[in-house]
Each structure stands twice: as structure tokens, then as C-alpha cells.
């Protein structure tokens, strides 16, 4: 089941948990043996602490949900001092999702994380839709993503995964720009910008009016984008967006993903991630794939 994403990031299997849906892993240890996962991507962290947005931060939608949490976190230093010692010995890849509002924030944060032995990779979040400067300014243009990835690349020596926004006209171009600037892999998709209204009260359901859509409803969009990006780039693609079971995960692999992340589905079934691992194993056995990595791009387009 092993997946090698390059520059030292080797996963036991292709299943990781998506940032913001799995806390720091500790919240799920009653349900999941973390040693059975390819990795966990911990909560989006910024150089300086952030209070996040006011309540209400969540609205349920058909087969999905909107959120506008707004990167609430206690900052990179707090992570290093308080959280890292608790989670560094987890028997899985612990990947930090790093966000920022300025180029300097990203560089400083990445420098600090580079020194942490047990963090083999950063997922660079250039696509948070919920804060005014949550990095999405960088993530929606080729020039923006080139700049931030190139600067972080200069000082970050481990695996650099760049998380892409789907709120763009041509995601393949953005992915190519990230690749050219030195990304080791790209993960996609972050949430889709959305909105919900309470008609009776004539009020928005979210404190910030708009938020990021996730859950099963975004899967077809995510799958299409993974397909487009995987065709365009040479670096590995990590697929996410609405994956709720092993079949969904296999679909993302067939579309070109080398690994996958499970996000919102963790809320509905806290043990879903290990079930996906088992289900993917079953699929490979049933279909005669010796290695799970053989699924990547194995979509049959012939009539």
C-alpha cells in the first residue's frame, strides 16, 4: 500500500486526513488507530495566533456543509511548544498545514516548521476562502502562487505540498505554476466558495455571509479538477473533496491522484479513514492490482 510522494514523504498507504477536519489527531484516537493511516494533516496554522471568525461559522447544506471558521489557531510558536511534543511520536506522517496573509508570514512559519524533526512535510495553504488575507490572494493567480511557493522553497527543505483553491478559472495553470516554483506535490481541492440564506429571517446563515463548501456534494467538481491537474503536472497529486468511502477514494486515484485526503466525512463517521484504507485494499485485491499506486491514473478511456 506504500506511496512515495517524493522528497522523503513516504506514506504507509494513500489515505490521509484533511486539515481542519481532524484537529491534531488527538481528537480521533478513541476511534482511529493513527498507525493505520498514511498521514494526518493538522489544523491550519498561521505564524501569529488568530481568533477566527464569529459564530455562526457553519451551515448545513444538502449533502454538505459551509464553514467560515477563519483559521482559528494559536500560532506556529504555540504549535511548536505545546502541540508538537504531544503528537510528534504518533506512528504516522504528521503534516502541518501552514497558512499566512503575507509572504513574510509564510516564509517565517515554514522556517520554524523546517526545524521540527517529526514533521516531514508542509501543506501550504494558499487557498483559505474565509479570511480576508488567508492566502487565497496567493492561490488564485499564477504569479501569486509562483511567488509564495518559490520563497518558501528557498528555506524549506522537506516535502512541500501546495493546497490549491478550486475558486479559479483554470486550476491546471495554477498547479503548473506551483510545480515550476518548486512544489513537491499539489493537493486539491480546498473548499468551494458558497453561501446560505435563512429566508424566514432574511439573514445569511454564516457570520461572514460566504463560506467554504465541503462534503459529498463537492466530489464531482473535485474529481474533475484532480483529473485536469494530474494530466498537466508531473509531480504527485493528492486528491480530496467529498471522499466518504473507499469507492470515492479509488475514483480519485483513477483520475490521477497518488494519495487522497478525507475531510468532512470524518464528522459523520469518525472512523471512516481506516475503513477507506481497508476498502481500498479490498478493491485492489478484487481487481488484481498488486500495488495501490498502480491505481493512479488507471482510468480506462477506451470505449
Amino acid at each position: 500500500m506504500t506511496i512515495d510522494l517524493g522528497r522523503g514523504l513516504v506514506l504507509r498507504n494513500p489515505v490521509m486526513t484533511a486539515s481542519g477536519t481532524f484537529g491534531y489527531g488527538e481528537e480521533y484516537t478513541d476511534f482511529v488507530d493513527l498507525a493505520r493511516l498514511g498521514g494526518i494533516i493538522v489544523k491550519g496554522t498561521t505564524l501569529n495566533p488568530r481568533q477566527g471568525n464569529p459564530y455562526p461559522r457553519m451551515a448545513e447544506t444538502p449533502s454538505g456543509m459551509l464553514n467560515c471558521v477563519g483559521l482559528q489557531n494559536k500560532g506556529v510558536q504555540y504549535f511548536i511548544d505545546t502541540i508538537y511534543p504531544r503528537i510528534k511520536d504518533f506512528d504516522t506522517n504528521v503534516i502541518l498545514n501552514l497558512s499566512g496573509s503575507t509572504l513574510e508570514d509564510y516564509v517565517k512559519g515554514a522556517e520554524m516548521v523546517d526545524a521540527l524533526d517529526r514533521i516531514p512535510a508542509i501543506e501550504l495553504n494558499v487557498s483559505c476562502p474565509n479570511v480576508k488575507q488567508g492566502g487565497m490572494a496567493f492561490g488564485v493567480t499564477c504569479a501569486g502562487i509562483s511567488q509564495v511557493v518559490a520563497e518558501v522553497r528557498k528555506i524549506y527543505h522537506k516535502h512541500l505540498m501546495v493546497k490549491l483553491s478550486p475558486n479559479v478559472t483554470n486550476i491546471a495553470e495554477i498547479a503548473l505554476a506551483a510545480e515550476a516554483a518548486g512544489a513537491d506535490s499539489v493537493s486539491l481541492i480546498n473548499t468551494l466558495m458558497g453561501m446560505a440564506i435563512d429566508a424566514e429571517r432574511r439573514r445569511p446563515k454564516l457570520s461572514m455571509v460566504t463560506g467554504g463548501l465541503s462534503g459529498a456534494c463537492v466530489k464531482p467538481v473535485a474529481l474533475r479538477m484532480v483529473w485536469q491537474v494530474a494530466k498537466a503536472v508531473k509531480i504527485p497529486v493528492v486528491g480530496l473533496g467529498g471522499i466518504s468511502n473507499a469507492t470515492d477514494a479509488v475514483e480519485f486515484m483513477l483520475a490521477g491522484a497518488s494519495a487522497i485526503e478525507i475531510g468532512t466525512a470524518n464528522f459523520i463517521d469518525p472512523a471512516v479513514s481506516v475503513k477507506v484504507v481497508e476498502g481500498m485494499k479490498d478493491y485492489c485485491e478484487r481487481h488484481g492490482f498488486e500495488k495501490v499506486s498502480d491505481l493512479t491514473g488507471a482510468l480506462n478511456l477506451e470505449g
Partner: protein, 254 residues
């Protein structure tokens, strides 16, 4: 306290107008459950209900591996839950959050409930009774039919009732009830609509009385991972699901 995901079987169901009492049985022994904790119930076969629903624990019968939920129908999720039949499977994550702090043996305590907010106070009172504490209940609703299982509550302690339309007990809000005059309480425990809880917390503050409230915010994960259900407290934004749902009012900005 280990959390678990379990398939419970609905073994008892009693309807009270807009509310329903669901008795759920598990083959496995129950984990230790503190009053004020809650469960996350998966809602099956409802396309518009994607997330689990957080529901307070109304009663626990450890000897029989049973928990009871008192659920008011307020939307699609609770409507589906209320439509389950005896024998149906209900998938539950439990126990979640932090419960109420039990009083000392000789303390005089008041349990204030508003509408469906009376639900967790039943198990709370039972745990108090096990310690030899007999609580006083003050239960309020808009109308008499909002308040269910009053006999059960009365069996655990002296019960006072208010309704806004005067159809049962004293007319008005819980904060206007005569029980506040002339009685002194060491601890006040509250669950109900936020405005009601804030008004009771205000009385507690004025009289310098210890007070715990149980907040109800919209939740996604229920585990402290998604940070959706936060309350702005003196310690910053805290997850109601993990840091709460029960908070001492001194921690809140009320």
C-alpha cells in the same frame, strides 16, 4: 473517558406532542456518562441532513445498557429521528463534552430548565439523588404542552413551573417565579434557550451564586476538531462541543 461509536437499537418510544422520548439499547456496556454530556446521532435516509445531530442525554440506565434522549422536533434531522420505530438501529457517538459539576452533599441546588432544555436536568437530578442531594426544579415553557414528563421530575425533587401563557404553574418567565424570593441556593444549574440562560446567569451573578449553564450551538464534528461551534468566552473562542457544553458562567462574557 473513552468515546465510542455504537449502533443502538430503539427499544422504547413515547410521544409528547412536539417531543419524543427515545430509549436506546446497546449490546455492549455503556461508557461512564456524566450528566450534561451529549451524543451525536447519525440521521439516516435524509438527503438534506448531512451532519450528525447533537442531543443531550436525558437519562442513563447502566444496568440495562440504555440511554434515553428527549428530542424536540425542530427541523428535518429531528423529524427523521422522531420518526424512527422501535427495533430500528440508531448510530450514536458518545459520550461527548463535559458535564455539570455535581454539588456537595449538603448543598441546596436549583435546576432551571426552559422548554426542551429540561432534558439533561433529569439525569443530572438522578445523579444528585444518588449523592443524597434533593434538588429543586424550576421548569419553564411557552405553554403547558412544552413541558413533558413533569411527574418524573417531581419524583426527584420539588418542582415549580412557569408558562408564558399561564396554562400551567405561574404565568411568566422562569426569572419571574416566586421561588427566587426568600430561598437561597448554593448552586444553580441551567439549560434552555440562550436568552433565558443569560437572564438566570444574571440573577446568579447579582446574588453571587455559583452557576453552570449548558450551551447549544450548531456543531459539525462534536469532537473539538472543526472549531465551528465556538462561544466567545473570557478565555477566547472555545468549542462548545469539547470545552462545554456545560460552562461555569464566570467563564462566559455574559
Amino acid at each position: 473517558m473513552m468515546k465510542q461509536i455504537a449502533d443502538f437499537t430503539l427499544v422504547g418510544k413515547e410521544c409528547f406532542g412536539q417531543s419524543v422520548l427515545l430509549r436506546l439499547h446497546d449490546e455492549q456496556p455503556l461508557p461512564e456518562i456524566v450528566p450534561g454530556q451529549f451524543v451525536q446521532v447519525r440521521i439516516d435516509d435524509s438527503p438534506t441532513t448531512y451532519l450528525r445531530r447533537p442531543i443531550s442525554i436525558h437519562d442513563v440506565d447502566s444496568a440495562n445498557n440504555e440511554i434515553s434522549l428527549l428530542v424536540q422536533v425542530v427541523g428535518e434531522g429531528t423529524r427523521h429521528l422522531a420518526a424512527t420505530n422501535v427495533g430500528d438501529c440508531i448510530n450514536v457517538v458518545l459520550p461527548l463534552g463535559n458535564g455539570y459539576t455535581l454539588p456537595l452533599e449538603n448543598e441546596n441546588v436549583l435546576l432551571v430548565g426552559g422548554g426542551i432544555g429540561i432534558a439533561p436536568l433529569y439525569y443530572l437530578a438522578k445523579c444528585m439523588a444518588a449523592k443524597g442531594v434533593k434538588p429543586t426544579f424550576l421548569l419553564g415553557g411557552k405553554k403547558a404542552t412544552d413541558l413533558v414528563r413533569l411527574d418524573a421530575y417531581s419524583s426527584l425533587g420539588e418542582s415549580f413551573v412557569t408558562t408564558e401563557d399561564g396554562s400551567l404553574g405561574e404565568k411568566g418567565m422562569v426569572t419571574m417565579h416566586s421561588v427566587w424570593k426568600g430561598r437561597k441556593f448554593d448552586k444553580i444549574y441551567v439549560c434552555g434557550p440562550k436568552r433565558m440562560m443569560m437572564a438566570v446567569a444574571d440573577i446568579a451573578k447579582t446574588n453571587d451564586v455559583w452557576c453552570e449553564v449548558s450551551l447549544e450551538h450548531m456543531m459539525a464534528c462534536g469532537l473539538g476538531a472543526c472549531l465551528c461551534c465556538v462561544e466567545d468566552t473570557v478565555e477566547g473562542n472555545l468549542c462548545v462541543c469539547k470545552e462545554g457544553p456545560v460552562f461555569n458562567t464566570r467563564r462566559l462574557k455574559w
